[in-house]
Amino acid sequence: MTDTTEKAAVKTAAGAASTAPSPAPAPRGTRVWRGVTPWLFLIAPLALLITFTYAPVANMLAYSLTDWDGVSPELRYIGAENYAEIFTREDLFRVFFVSGYYLAASAVQIVAALYFATILSFNVRFRNFFKGVLFFPYLINGVAIGFVFLYFFQDGGTLDSVLNLFGVETEHAWLGTPVSANTSLAGVSVWRYLGLNFVLFLGAIQSIPGELYEAAELDGANRWHQFRYIIAPGIKPVLTLTVILSISGSLSVFEVPYIMTGGATGTETFVIQTVNLAFRFGKTGLASAAAVVLLLIILLVTWIQRRLVPDDKVDLV
């Protein structure tokens, strides 16, 4: 809605400009400067973007066509052999099952974030405090989180102690079996990223004009109706974005499992496997190809999703 009002403003401004007597064309030098100026401003961000994003990606693409081992000064061009190897070895794809845990976790995460964002967008006591509490984990560095949760899941660690307080005696090794370990790790990931989703939702909800709620209340709508017919459609673009981020995030989980278990006990993800290929077995070429494949898979998933759920304009008014 803010979008449409802005556009209208621009339109009227443009209209006003066209009716006004047009000024004499600027001298040549000024015109050149006008053309160049935006590029001058863009130099810094473009240079950073190219150096740190596109150049490494181009490098990776180039390496994925070689048999480079990561150190040796010699590398051979071997064409698409690496890609052929990736697509003929099913063991390389088996690790995607682990992503299922994180995908399920991100569903939980989105629902929880939506719930908290809705509640805290209404007038609740201590709402700023709770906002802080929810967002805080996202500010902590992932490595620190890994270590904190190692202690948390330890035998006799924080989790066991807390459960003890409630009279639950448990001998369960939280990271002991593949199912339990992956669930625990996915739980950590929910704890970590909940805050980000929450803030995105909260921002979207707060951009909905207050009059709508008032009008709805006058019409006798309760909180659920307000959520269903005002909030949910109002934040749909952000919701789609979050879902895309969650899916690509689940496919490329790395930090938490790498630090906590190093991929042991069936917690190896595709990215951990790629890192191991490159840095443990000296197959940098193959690993680069694996990274390219992951990139393509994520692009494909995003594309499919955009086709299934088109991003149409939202207009609440």
């Binding site: 000064p73 001998e171 042991a264 069936g266």
Partner: protein, 437 residues
């Protein structure tokens, strides 16, 4: 719109071109001659090291000061890298990787002449130093380890005695019986896997050679099947598996903690760990800090005997090499020679000296008394083994396969031990065929 596409393509190709040549071009082969006159050597050299702890407590500075007495014009600077392998590997794509560095495990032996200056021929160095064959390429030596290590079990003598065992077990079965006695008669954890740390499990690969007291054990890895019945690795892995299966390890290995395991072993909460001689000094320090008797920390060889004698394999720690691009090769060489021959580094770490003439350290006394035979495993095929290992993605120097083994033994992974070994054998022997050469 079109113009932008073209621009993007130009930028893209411009990026691809240097990418392909980025690692090309490097000189090959150079010698770092030992200087004859110490007073003439000069320059500032940078020494890369993993021992960040020794930088922090000033120990390395003291060595450098001592070195300065003989070589007054050489200034030595140290740079500690915590994640050594990963960081050095990236730096070695440039010419700037210090003057003296520890040769990282990822560098292929055949590439040594591209990266390091030679210290001399093996013929000449082999007379004086141990471990020369680990860095020999075409008869020339490219590195020297300042100390030697021998794998073995760190154990708490008091606990083992309390369990009624005073003699070192001579077979894996006896060893298991010992651990069971510890479990029955004491409160200690019989064996601590340090599963989470990972490298502690990859250490089990160093049983290679001890089991049959075979100096040619590495050749067997390169040519034979390491998991055939009776082969060294299989014997070691089976022992590890049986310990886990018989529930003689910590309750939750996935959250084990290496740093904590040191004082816990000293205090007798943990009875045994498979590590190496290098760990003795750390465990004794931990004992002192915990206020318990450091002499409780004992060290025993792998439970296997050949001709009635235990066998201990002595191998090098990280080998120090000289950057082939270093402008101060003479100074760098002086440092390596001094650090290896004259410094007290090996003694300070209770380690085995790299000099063939030096006596064994005091901590190895029980070994001498028990008549343990010391061997060095011939590393001529080491590069080939590494190659097969990478090709097969088994990772005998990496933690994964043994983490899987432990998971299998404690029921967190499906399958039988035999099929587990069969799978390893299959991958290894297949890689032998393709990686051959």
């Amino acid at each position: 719109m079109n113009r932008r596409h073209i621009l993007a393509m130009v930028v893209g190709t411009a990026l691809l071109v240097p990418a392909c040549t980025g690692t090309g071009g490097s000189s090959k082969g150079a010698d770092a001659e030992a200087p004859t006159d110490p007073s003439k050597v000069s320059g500032t050299i940078k020494v890369l090291t993993v021992r960040t702890d020794l930088i922090q407590d000033g120990t390395l500075k003291r060595y450098a000061a001592e070195f300065g007495k003989t070589y007054p014009k050489v200034k030595v600077e140290f740079e500690g890298l915590t994640d050594y392998e990963a960081e050095v590997k990236i730096r070695m794509n440039t010419k700037n990787y210090g003057d003296v560095l520890l040769i990282p495990a990822v560098i292929k032996k055949a590439d040594y002449p591209r990266f390091f200056a030679s210290l001399g021929t093996q013929e000449e160095r082999g007379e004086k130093y141990r471990f020369t064959d680990y860095t020999t390429v075409d008869g020339k030596v490219y590195g020297q380890s300042p100390n030697g290590v021998s794998p073995g079990f760190i154990y708490n003598k008091r606990i083992w005695k309390e369990a009624g065992i005073t003699e070192w077990p001579t077979t894996p079965a006896e060893f298991l019986a010992g651990l069971k006695a510890i479990k029955a008669r004491t409160d200690a954890i019989p064996y601590y896997t340090n599963f989470a740390a990972g490298w502690t499990l990859s250490g089990w690969t160093s049983v290679n050679g001890s089991v049959h007291c075979d100096p040619k054990a590495t050749d067997k890895l390169a040519e034979g099947d390491p998991w055939a019945k009776g082969a060294d690795l299989r014997v070691g892995d089976t022992l590890l598996h049986d310990m886990v299966k018989a529930d003689l390890i910590e309750k939750d290995p996935t959250t084990s903690n290496w740093e904590e395991s040191k004082p816990r072993t000293a205090k007798g909460e943990i009875a045994t760990q498979w590590l190496g001689t290098w760990a003795i000094v750390q465990f004794r320090d931990a004992a002192k800090k915990a206020g318990v008797n450091p002499d409780d920390i004992g060290f025993m060889p792998f439970p296997a005997q050949a001709d009635g004698r235990f066998c201990s394999v002595i191998g090098p720690d990280y080998n120090q090499g000289i950057n082939v691009h270093s402008p101060h090769k003479a100074a760098a060489r002086a440092w390596i020679d001094w650090f290896t021959d004259k410094s007290t580094y090996a003694q300070d770490n209770l380690a085995i000296s790299p000099l063939k003439s030096a006596p064994l350290p005091e901590v190895m006394k029980p070994y001498e008394e028990a008549g343990v035979k010391f061997i060095e495993v011939d590393d001529a095929k080491g590069a080939q083994v590494k190659n097969i290992d990478n090709q097969s993605e088994v990772g005998i120097y990496a933690p994964e396969y043994r983490q899987n083994l432990v998971d299998l033994a404690r029921g967190a992974r499906k399958g039988s031990l035999d099929s587990f070994f069969a799978d390893l054998s299959k991958r290894w022997t297949e890689a032998q065929r393709t990686a051959g050469s």
